[in-house]
């Protein structure tokens, strides 16, 4: 089996195609554990994982916690609202104090892009990025690719449309990095106010003028969450108009390939970026994404610990 040489997983940009293949194939074997009656293996027994979430999260934090527990690691969750962060302690000090308690892995979500690189220079344990600003969300990118592989049996030659606020999306960046490495092509669409400059240079990326152009003949249609609180008042008129031009509905989904899969990183704004008919329709793989999230995160935890599969 190929060897995983990274101590941290901060960005898919830092990983090779072989690394991504390894993580995905490990995740595939982890799924067997998740389907057992007793969903636990002793692989990471005695390891301590701290989930340090500076931004709120239900899905990702729970998924990492379950992943750690299924591998028999001890997992601790820390959120800033009930920690020293609100007392004005710096990230570095918080990390050094946590490090003094000898964790093996810190899984962190932070609003500032690049803060995991900063942290990795300060601590001796492994760092896993559970989302940093608008930079990357590698576990999401990996679980998205695992789900695509489930559907198509491969990750090369796929046409993947990503629609929404690309500028603020770490999910889009991780998917662009990962899918480009795996040999697929990414087509982006969103209001011009939400498409960042030079994004086509990030990988095998085409920026489309309209949503229809992006989803035409797509194998995968990935919709991004539109956040009123983030987009404010200057990036779009309102949710109604957004939905009209960049919402996925039973009509425009027909432009994609007949067997195309629909994805969303969640949480969904029903009726804004996606109609409920699509969210709950036959082509939706959204809950499969969540299911795969646990297996992918087990694989990530396992590989940064450098262990052997039993």
């Amino acid at each position: 089996m190929a060897e995983f040489k990274h101590k941290h997983i901060i960005a898919l940009r830092d990983l090779s195609k072989a690394d991504i293949e390894l993580l995905i194939s490990t995740a595939e074997s982890m799924r067997e554990v998740n389907s057992r009656d007793i969903k636990k293996v002793p692989t990471l027994r005695g390891k301590t994982i701290i989930n340090l979430f500076y931004e709120s999260s239900t899905r990702t934090r729970t998924s990492f916690e379950i992943a750690g527990k299924r591998l028999s690691a001890d997992t601790v969750n820390i959120a800033p609202s009930n920690s020293s962060a609100t007392k004005g302690e710096t990230l570095a000090d918080t990390a050094l104090n946590l490090l003094a308690m000898k964790p093996d892995i810190i899984v962190m979500r932070h609003a500032v892009s690049g803060s995991h690189y900063f942290l990795a220079e300060k601590v001796s344990c492994s760092i896993i990025n559970a989302g940093d600003g608008a930079h990357e969300h590698p576990s999401q990118g990996l679980l998205d690719m695992l789900t695509m592989k489930d559907r198509f049996g491969r990750l090369d030659g796929l046409k993947v449309a990503i629609v929404g606020d690309i500028t603020h999306s770490r999910v889009a960046r991780s998917n662009i990095q990962g899918l480009t490495k795996m040999g697929s092509s990414v087509f982006l669409a969103g209001p011009p106010t939400m498409v960042p400059p030079g994004v086509e240079r990030l990988g095998n990326v085409t920026v489309c003028a309209t949503m229809n152009e992006a989803i035409q003949d797509a194998d995968v249609v990935m919709m991004l969450r539109i956040q009123q609180e983030r987009q404010g008042k200057t990036l779009m008129p309102n949710a109604r108009e957004y939905s009209r031009y960049f919402g996925l509905n039973p009509e425009n989904i027909k432009l994609a390939k007949p067997n195309a899969m629909v994805m969303h990183p969640g949480p969904i704004n029903r009726g804004v970026e996606m109609s409920s008919y699509v969210v709950d329709g036959d082509q939706s793989w959204i809950l499969k994404q969540v299911e795969n999230g646990v297996a992918v995160r087990m694989a990530m935890l396992y590989h940064v610990c450098g262990g052997e599969l039993e």
Partner: protein, 424 residues
């Protein structure tokens, strides 16, 4: 004290001198520049063979952080960094605590620099009280107290009427207004230049037009009122073009850029390097070449460092949290000499931009080796190589993007009013 600087290559653009000559200093003033001068009996003789001898360098844009923020820098450490970098005069910006918006603060700076400092310090007063942006500071008294310009550097005067009236009022007093050109709404929460690099790093971008639009406004105000204006830290190709066009139609506009804007691009931010975070932010390759073009064709009058010391606790943090700015006094000369090596500027032009022009723009009566001028003189070695090392920098703060990097060219001696203040 008298001094004879022997056998150096003397470059003085103010007198069109470029020759191997001696410089005689008497009672703090230049006595004579010529060949084969004899040293008076009491004179210290400085051997300048193989070195360049130029009018003392002037940095018209530094932050000395004194009073109030002495944990970053103070007048002593800041002027020590200045002379170590070859500067005989610096103009310090008013965003101290308290602000340089009254006689007491201006006098404190002048007195402390004269008693304990290593070089001339000319304070820049604020345009508005406490940099509040809502009412004019007492520019008349600031000028009488020794301020050589007014600026709200660090932030723009957002109220266009107040900016226009300030230009008119300052022109009546005869004090230069230095504009910090930035349209804050376009900057928003931005932390670096908006472009491919910000897209890749997922950092919020600051579009170049945020600087351009503010540069246009202030130039239009100066043009309308017929008053002079100086634009600080020009970083974009748009600003260079706007200033070039304004000069061509006779607007009394001058400007400066900083060594980082003709040396680095936003690529330096990669790795989330907080020592590459400043405002305006590092731009892209086409901006960098436009800055060089502007220096070459005379659009850009001065090179100033925007020396901005910050404590390690303010830089060794997540990128968004880090303060803006880098130190520059000790790296400005070698980086600027690169322009001569690249053929962008002649040495003569470089000395104009680092000494004569700042003096002329602010009326400092320096930037010249003419007989009778204050004996502010810089000796430098064009070729000598050295490495930027944190513990060897004179500045209290070490926030330089060039730590560990090689530099070529260095100040060998810095003479302020006829006194040798620094020797390497």
């Amino acid at each position: 004290m008298n001094m004879l600087i022997k056998g150096g290559r003397v470059i003085d653009p103010s007198q069109k001198i470029d020759d191997t000559l001696d410089v005689l200093v008497e009672n703090g003033l230049i006595k004579q520049v010529g060949k084969g001068l004899q040293a008076p009996a009491d004179a210290k003789v400085v051997d300048a063979a193989g070195k360049y001898v130029v009018p003392g360098l002037i940095d018209m844009h530094v932050h000395l952080r004194d009073p109030g923020l002495e944990y970053k820098e103070d007048i002593i450490s800041g002027t020590r960094a200045a002379v170590s970098g070859g500067f005989t005069s610096v103009c310090c910006m008013p965003n101290t605590k308290p602000t340089i918006d009254n006689k007491a603060v201006a006098s404190y700076i002048i007195n402390k620099s004269q008693s304990d400092g290593f070089c001339n310090v000319f304070p820049v007063g604020s345009i508005t009280y406490g940099l509040s942006g809502d009412r004019m500071a007492e520019m008349g008294e600031l000028k009488e107290s020794g301020c050589v310009a007014v600026s709200d550097d660090g932030r723009p005067v957002t109220n266009s009427e107040l900016m226009m009236r300030s230009l008119q009022y300052a022109a009546g007093i005869g004090i230069m207004v230095i504009s910090h050109a930035e349209e804050l709404e376009l900057v928003g929460e931005g932390v670096m230049n908006e472009g491919f690099t910000s897209t890749e790093l997922g950092l919020k971008g600051i579009p170049r037009v945020a600087e351009d639009i503010a540069t246009v406004r202030d130039i239009m105000l100066a043009e309308y009122t017929g008053t002079p204006i100086h634009i600080a830290h020009v970083s974009t190709k748009g600003s260079v073009r706007i200033i070039r066009e304004a000069k061509a139609r006779g607007v009394k506009v001058t400007c400066e850029t900083a060594p980082h804007y003709f040396t680095l691009t936003d690529d330096a931010v990669r790795g989330y390097n907080t020592n590459a975070k400043m405002n305006p932010p590092l731009r892209e390759a086409d901006d960098l070449s436009a800055i060089k073009q502007g220096l070459q064709d005379g659009t850009i009058d001065c090179i100033a460092t925007d020396h901005a010391p910050h404590h390690i606790d303010e830089k060794d943090v997540e990128f968004n949290v880090a303060m803006n700015g880098i130190i520059g006094l000790e790296t400005s000369l070698p980086l600027s000499l690169n322009l001569v090596r690249e053929g962008v500027l002649t040495l003569n032009q470089l000395i104009e931009k680092m000494s004569c022009n700042p003096s002329n723009i602010l009326g400092l009566n320096r930037g010249s080796l003419q007989a009778g001028a204050p004996a502010d003189i810089t000796l430098f070695d064009l070729e000598r190589e050295w490495t930027v090392e944190a513990d060897k920098l004179a500045s209290k703060s070490k926030n330089s993007p060039w730590l560990g990097q090689k530099m070529k060219g260095v100040a060998m001696a810095t003479i302020v009013s006829g006194t040798l203040k620094f020797e390497r």
